[in-house]
């Protein structure tokens, strides 16, 4: 009897084990090489609202680089809650996940209900209610995308974030430069500054209320700090020569920046309230692109004191700089991860400029991108993604890449030429 039981178990194991094995393989390859099929069934009463919530979620997930969404006309049914779902209708279409939802008017706005279902396992894995007023519907939709993305990928989503960037257009002798802020999906784009002369290097204050940038509007470089809500601004430096590369200290009280008033580019720290200027580097080489560590104690910067640009670090109190990068002929424009353990930078070997991640504990460098003119990298607040500028089909675009380099997500801006992205805090 015991033997029979054992035999039966063995048979079952033989029958099932290839399946289990196969499923594991599928999971691994699907996660990283092919896109995960997900259907967003149109939300109930979604089309009567000012924002089509399910369409926004569909667009977010589709552009994430991780999912492939199902077109509305290919759906066999359009349930708006989990209890209406006939799972077979989605299994037959090869879907792995299904999102259903509904919107109800509530006091002061709307209640959005949604469920995330695992189609093959036939089970519900998320059930949420989100409230929003009429002006917050788009943000609520991005929030839902973020929740779904994090649940299924383990990484935080970036759909609800804002980004500042520089765009330019026009012929060489009649160019326009704009500093803009927009949602990461390209909506709600607002122009902060526009000029016939270059605008560069936007950087957010840690509280997200101000942006510092470089403007050449007087045919000279000057650094400005502008309050976003009022549009008021102050010129913080306009010394002869370079006024560049502003970087806000984590406490928001100081700007690290580059000035060449003493003859060559050096890093300085400007106290924004006392206007006191402290020089941090002092040599005849190029020293520029300062970036603060999250604890405010250290800065990294680019210097060519060995002939080629490499990344150095220095205490925010000054002192001797230490070289950090030794691999690659060109390392520049570094910035810290939120936990301070990594930096991202422009990294070139053989004149191909890519974005690379360096682990500060091990010194290991990992290339994240495959472009030849990639630049201006910066981490997302959660440290999971790096936003940078690259070129596609003759256009300057912005793209986010996961820090393992596996998932890329182009940002959908209509502008012909965008660059220098800065993720809002």
């Amino acid at each position: 009897m015991k033997f029979l039981k054992l035999l039966a178990f063995f048979c079952l194991w033989v029958i099932y084990s290839p399946l289990i094995h196969a499923e594991l393989n599928i999971d691994i390859t699907k996660s990283f090489e092919s896109k995960v099929p997900i259907a967003i069934s149109p939300f109930g009463s979604s089309k009567t609202l000012t924002e089509n919530i399910s369409a926004i979620i569909d667009n977010d997930l589709n552009r994430s680089g991780y999912f492939k969404t199902l077109a509305e006309q290919d759906m066999l049914s359009q349930p708006t809650s989990a209890n209406q779902v006939v799972m077979k209708n989605w299994q037959i279409l090869g879907q792995e996940y299904l999102v259903v939802g509904n919107t109800q008017r509530a006091r002061g706005g709307y209640e959005i209900f949604f469920q995330l279902l695992d189609v093959s396992k036939n089970e519900q894995i998320m059930d949420y209610k989100i409230t929003a007023d009429a002006t917050g519907l788009r943000r609520a939709a991005h929030q839902i995308s973020d929740l779904i993305y994090e649940k299924l990928t383990g990484n935080k989503g970036i759909f609800g974030t804002k980004v500042a960037f520089v765009s330019s257009h026009g012929h060489v002798n009649n160019r326009n430069y704009q500093l803009q802020v927009a949602d990461v999906d390209g909506h709600n784009s607002q122009t902060i500054v526009s000029s016939k002369e270059p605008i560069m290097s936007p950087t957010w204050s840690p509280d997200g209320n101000k942006i510092a940038y470089v403007s050449f509007e007087n045919h000279r470089a000057a650094i400005f700090v502008q309050i976003l809500t009022t549009g008021n601004r102050i010129k913080v430096t306009s010394y002869p020569g370079i006024n560049g590369a502003p970087a806000w200290s984590p406490d928001g009280r100081k700007l690290a920046l580059t000035l060449s008033k003493a003859g060559s580019p050096d890093i300085y720290i400007l106290d924004l309230s006392s206007k006191q200027l402290t020089q941090l580097t002092d040599n005849h080489w190029i020293n520029t692109e300062p970036a603060w560590s999250p604890d405010g104690r250290t800065l990294v910067f680019t210097s060519n004191q060995t002939g080629k640009p490499q990344i150095y670090k220095i205490s925010s109190n000054g002192g001797k700089a230490t070289r950090l990068t030794f691999k690659g002929s060109y390392n520049a424009n570094a910035s810290f991860s939120p936990d301070g353990s990594k930096i991202v930078m422009v990294h070139a070997t053989a004149a191909n400029y890519k974005i690379a991640l360096m682990n500060l504990n091990t010194g290991a460098i990992k290339t994240l991108t495959q472009g030849s003119l990639d630049e201006s990298p910066g981490f997302s607040n959660n440290g999971a993604m790096v936003l940078y500028a690259t070129r596609r089909a003759g256009r300057g675009i912005l793209e986010a890449v996961s820090i393992d380099g596996r998932i890329k997500q182009p940002l959908a801006f209509q502008n012909p030429e965008v660059r220098e992205p800065a993720w809002a805090p």
Binding site: N173, S194, G241, A245, L373
Partner: protein
């Protein structure tokens, strides 16, 4: 006078030799230079508006007026017709074929000590933007050093670097990049 000129030429040659680096030539071998600078440059303009929240249109109060290079050359000699110095990749070395051009500027500036010249440094688009600002300034300073050594007063020389922000050519290949690695020489209107 003759001795002075000889000393000047020697100094210029010496400085040029000193500033050479170990950059490799990336295919820019023609000795004549493509004259794209006048087409590619417009120092006018500067309208700045701001419309995030409450709009406060901005009026540049201290807008410098730049001389139109074409205008200057009509008044002066045709020898001034090339007003752009081009550079090799990641280099601020002045190549020998540009020395005669700089010398003509030196003569004019020495004869007109109240004339100010703006040396506008530029870089190609490769690499990071702020590093390219620094590189553009190095190029402008290279030209300024030769002019100063040639007897031009320091007060006559101003420089500004636009890095890769104001390309003379919008392409993304060496044909465009070699036109963008440059210093534009612009007389300031007095």
């Amino acid at each position: 006078m003759r001795i002075k000129t000889t000393v000047l030429i020697l100094m210029v040659t010496f400085l040029t030799a000193c500033s050479s680096t170990n950059e490799t030539d990336q295919g820019f071998i023609d000795n004549g230079l493509p004259d794209a600078s006048v087409d590619g440059y417009n120092a006018y303009g500067g309208n700045v508006t701001s419309n995030y929240g409450t709009t406060t249109p901005y009026n540049p109060s201290s807008q410098e007026n730049y001389n139109d290079p074409k205008q200057t050359f009509i008044n002066d000699s045709a020898a001034f017709a090339k007003e752009t110095i081009y550079f090799m990749y990641d280099s601020s070395e002045i190549r020998p074929q540009f020395i005669p051009i700089i010398n003509k500027y030196i003569h004019y500036l020495r004869a007109n000590p109240n004339q100010v010249i703006i040396l506008e440094g530029h870089a190609d688009e490769r690499g990071s933007r702020e590093y390219n600002i620094a590189l553009g300034e190095e190029r402008a300073i290279s030209v300024a050093r030769i002019m100063e050594a040639g007897g031009v007063f320091r007060g006559q020389l101003e420089f500004v670097s636009y890095g890769e922000e104001k390309p003379a050519s919008l392409g993304h290949n060496e044909a465009a990049w070699r036109l963008n690695r440059r210093v534009n020489l612009i007389y300031q209107r007095n």
